[in-house]
Amino acid sequence: MIRSAYSHQAAEVEIAAISAQPLDVVGLLAGAHHPRAGAVVLFSGEVRNHNDGMAVDYLEYEAHEAMAAKMIKTILEDANKKWPLNIAVAQHRTGKVAVGETAVVVITASAHRSEAYQANEYIIHRIKHEAPIWKCEYFSDGTKKWGGNCNC
């Protein structure tokens, strides 16, 4: 297991930053409570059935797993330096991800909601733009397209 969570004080959660298996969003949330945290923010990035006017069947994610895991760990650590977080966790899928399934989850917990919201957005923004992870969209018309210039 790769330690990808960062703890501000005592709590540590061990999860793999990159997973080829479906993400256990509910389980991750269950492990993200902290006695000093009054706010827990969970972002689940999910596969939608359309993009740029085209019907999407599924996505496939590829990663340089070692570098992506290392980078996610660094991003979590950076977030913890910027905000007083009690929990910061992120996990990203690889492989085929169906419409409605979670491709990435980020959970942050802090004493008050403002820090948890801000840190969560900071983490997902950096993961999307910096981690060596790529999506390929498979469309219903049989075509496919690699992502590269994220507009989200």
Binding site: A68, H92, I133, C150
Partner: protein, 77 residues
Amino acid sequence: MKIQVFAVLKEYFDKEFELGDDIQDIASLQGHLARLNTEAQGILQLCRFAVHDEFVEENYKITKNDTICIFPPSSGG
């Protein structure tokens, strides 16, 4: 040296391949690959390069035992 490419670059090059030892640095490698497949020239300009799991700059000196990973712009999430 061994080259590994990811994502959309696999539509232009084999996922893994070897190159001769006459390429001195990352900038030269970028140019060499663009000449090998001119259709990849645009995307190569946007790529990041990594050696031994660390990002490197254009002036990084390549040695014959290096494995160079070439990353198109990220599109996770």
